[in-house]
Structure formats: C-alpha cells, structure tokens
C-alpha cells in the first residue's frame, strides 16, 4: 500500500473511533442524580459509568430498549426483534406517578395494552437494583442509599424512645 493510502486509512480509523466514542459518551450519563424524594431523603447519586462495567450489555438494566436485547422468557416472545428506542431513561417508560387518576383512567380505557402491570419509577428502580445488589453484595438496606433529611427523621419518628404508651390493645 502507498503511504497515502495508509495515511487515509489511519485518518478514517481515528475518525470512526472518535465519533464512536463521542456518540456513546454524549448519550450515556456519567452520574444520575435521583432526587424526586428530596424532601425526606437526600438525593441519591447513581454512578452510571461504574455500573456499565457490570452486566454484559446495556440491556441488562435497560431491558430491550437498547443494547443486545432482552433474553427474559417473558419478554422475548414479543420483543425479540424490538429496536432501540429514542430515549432509554427509566423514567420515560416507568412514570413517577403511576397512581394518578389520569393514568388509571387511561389504563382502564386502553384495552389493547398488554403492560397493564408496569411498575412506576420508584418500584422500577428498586426492583432493578436490589436484585443484583443482593447477589453481588451491594447496598441493600434503605439507609445504604437514602440518607434522611430532618424532615425524613420526623416522618419516621426516629427519636421515639419507646417510653410512651403503645396504645390500647
């Protein structure tokens, strides 16, 4: 090969590598701040980059929406050939308020949806995370991820001493 061709090849390879890494880096967050319960719990800092090292593929957490697709028996019958979707953030499919009257009425009227039992955002986070955490010795207690604020301490009556009467029985 001539010098020019080698040079062109190297440039192309570099461009592809740069573009490729840029695409994933732009789409994939490094950290995700989960603060929808900020009144009672301090924000949870989720280290997304660290978690990408676990699991074989994005689909380990993101189901069939990105990565090499799901292998779960319950899902492949419909989603074996599903494409990647535009957004893969958990909250785009698992809504924060699954029990609002709008959502309940919409689910009730839509008779063709299969996923009538889709968990909301809180449940999706906990189920997706705790399964692996239990197997891999990750944090499993509430307090391991959620630090209570003063309001949270009051809510759970952390300072109850056990001296007051427990009530009639």
């Amino acid at each position: 090969m001539s010098f020019k061709k080698i040079y062109a090849l190297l440039i192309t390879m570099l461009a592809v590598a740069l573009l490729g890494s840029m695409a994933t880096a732009a789409d994939m967050p490094d950290r995700v701040i989960l603060d929808s319960m900020s009144e009672m719990f301090e924000a949870v800092e989720f280290d997304h980059t660290m978690h990408t090292e676990f699991g074989e593929d994005c689909s380990a957490c993101h189901h069939h929406t990105t990565g090499t697709g799901t292998t779960d028996d319950r899902c492949v019958s419909c989603h074996a050939t599903s494409d990647e979707v535009a957004t893969v953030a958990c909250r785009d499919c698992h809504i924060e308020a699954p029990f609002s009257s709008e959502h309940i009425n919409q689910k009730s009227l839509d008779v063709y949806t299969f996923h009538i039992d889709r968990p909301g955002l809180k449940a999706a986070y906990h189920w997706n995370c705790l399964g692996c955490h239990e197997q891999m010795d990750g944090p499993t207690e509430c307090e391991d991820c959620h630090t209570r604020t003063a309001r949270g301490d009051a809510f759970y009556h952390i300072n109850a001493t056990g001296s007051s009467a427990e009530g009639g029985h």
Binding site: S108, K122, A123, W127, A165, E166, G167, G168, H169
Partner: protein, 313 residues
C-alpha cells in the same frame, strides 16, 4: 253461643292474611348481594414484594394525624412483639390504622403482611350498625361518622378481620378508629392513599377494583410459581376492595383461609327478615286459638249453668 261469630272470624283471617303479605319486606324477598359500585377503587397488596420497611405505617400516621409511636417506624424489632401469651401479633389499634407483621413460613423467606380495613363491598360493620354510622362510598371506602355512633362496639364484634379499634383511652370523646382509605384527604380527590404513595416496592397497587383483578391475574400468570393462584378478597365475604396476592398459602400469613363468599349479613338476614311476618301472623294466630278454646269452655259453662238453673227450678 258466646265467643267469636263466624263473620268476625272470617274478617279477622282475611285481615291477617293481608297483613302478612304486605308485611314481608320487599328487600328481603329481593335480597341479593351488593358487589360494589362499578367504578369503586381498590388496592392490590402483593405480599411477595413487601420488605417490611414500615414506610406505609409512617405515612398513615402522618396523614391521619395519629399520635407519635412508641418506637421509630424503621425499627424492625416490632416484628418480634407478641401479645396475649404469644398467640397474637401486632394489630390495628386506636393509634395505628395499619400495621405490618412478619411471618416465617416454613421453607420460605420471611413474608411481610400489611393489615388494615379491607373496605368490604358489604361490610359487616356497616350491616351491624343500628345507627348507620358507616357508609360505603362510591369510591370504595368504608367510612365512619363519629357523630351518630353510640359506642356500642357491635361493629368490632361483627368484623371478620377484627379491624375496628376503639379509643378506650379517651373517656369523654371515644370513637371507632380504623383505616378510612384516606377518603377525606385523598380518595375523594382521585389520589391514592398515603400508604400506597410511599411504598418503595409498589407492594400496593392502586386502581379500579375490576382492573386490579385483571392485573392480579396477569401477575400470577406471567410469574409462574411465584404466587398462590388466588386473589384473596376477590370473592371472600362478598368481595373486598383491598385484595391480596401471596407467595405462600394464605393461612400461613395470618389470613382466615375459609371465611366464605357470603357477606356476614347473609348469615342473619334470612332469619331477621321473618320477624315482620312473625309479628303479623302470631298475634292473629294465637288470638284465633285462644278464641276457639274459649268458645268451647264458654259453651260447656253455659250448658252447666242451664242445667243448674233447670235443676234448681
């Protein structure tokens, strides 16, 4: 002859029959069970998801302005508490409208059960209350009116789940205390109750009762082996708004496995519906018997008198 005349006897019989026919209440004749308002809401409690964090107890305490508890709500040592010589776990009381208890079925991980008023379609408490202190609202909640309650506590006896508690600690202003499905503060406005809102595991699913049954069936079907194939509360006692799915047999986690599918009132309403009929027939019947009996005596008595008079003459 003395005693009743034929005309009067016939007139009384016809009147008695008419009274009987009219007196049997229409409702008793047409008595079917009430299976709930069509758009009634409900909650599906999934015992396989509950981790015993007790956030629901904390949320209820705040929402219903209950007094501060003895122990913090994240204290799991309460699961070891027993009462009445070790035979009873924690139960709802005047300061706790819902409690979570831990069960340790054999060969299984601990199962946690949240326990509160089940908001039955035909509640025993409502049926037993003679001052109509309870109301089953169209949203599904069974609510209580303190202002008409006389404190007889028959509802506490009637409830098959032993839910209603009484504020014995209040000498002058006692009331029945139980879960009201957050009716005043949330359900009326289309919001889920406080316990459902806070549950991190979505062990509690809020929705229309008829949709929850579909969801529960789908959940059982798509998770083979995970659940006992039964929705507790779908048909039990006439149907409840709060229904349960369990990974282990229900009797192992504190449920009465066979309460029957009839509402509690069905055990008494057939008997009680005969009361007006009895009140109409029995007096007429026994007056009739009495008059017949008296007529016989009267006849003999007159005949004796006649004999005496004839004998005397």
């Amino acid at each position: 002859m003395s005693g009743i005349s034929r005309r009067r006897f016939l007139a009384a019989s016809i009147a008695g029959c008419a009274a009987t026919t009219l007196a049997v209440p229409k409702k008793a004749l047409a008595s079917g069970a009430f299976s709930g308002y069509p758009d009634s809401m409900g909650v599906l409690v999934d015992l396989s998801r509950c981790i015993g964090c007790r956030s629901c107890e904390a949320a209820c305490n705040e929402e219903q302005n209950l007094p501060a508890p003895a122990l913090p709500f994240n204290d799991k040592s309460v699961f070891d508490q027993t009462f009445h010589g070790g035979t009873q776990k924690r139960r709802t009381d005047e300061n706790a409208y819902t409690v979570v208890n831990r069960y340790n079925p054999e060969g299984s991980e601990p199962v946690y059960r949240k326990f509160q008023c089940n908001h039955c379609a035909e509640p025993a408490c409502l049926s037993s209350c003679f001052v109509n202190a309870y109301t089953k609202t169209p949203e599904g909640a069974v609510i209580y009116n303190k202002n008409v309650c006389v404190g007889c506590r028959t509802c506490m006896v009637a409830c098959p789940f032993h839910v209603p508690a009484y504020s014995y600690s209040s000498a002058f202003d006692p009331a029945i205390k139980k879960c009201i499905f957050c009716h005043e503060t949330r359900l009326k406005n289309g919001l889920p109750p406080a316990c459902v809102d806070i549950c991190p595991q979505e062990a509690l699913t809020f929705g229309k009762r008829k949709d929850l049954i579909k969801i529960a069936n789908q959940r059982i079907q798509t998770n083979p082996g995970r659940y006992i194939n039964h929705i507790y509360g779908e048909n039990e006692l006439g149907g409840t708004s709060w229904m349960y799915l369990s990974p282990v047999p229900f009797e192992e986690v504190g449920f009465d496995p066979n309460p029957g599918n009839e509402p509690i009132i069905s055990h008494v309403k057939d008997f009680l519906s005969t009361v007006p009929m009895v009140l109409a027939i029995w007096p007429a019947l026994f007056v009739g018997f009495h008059l017949l009996a008296k007529k016989q005596d009267g006849h003999d008595h007159d005949a004796e008198k006649q004999h005496e008079e004839e004998g005397a003459e």
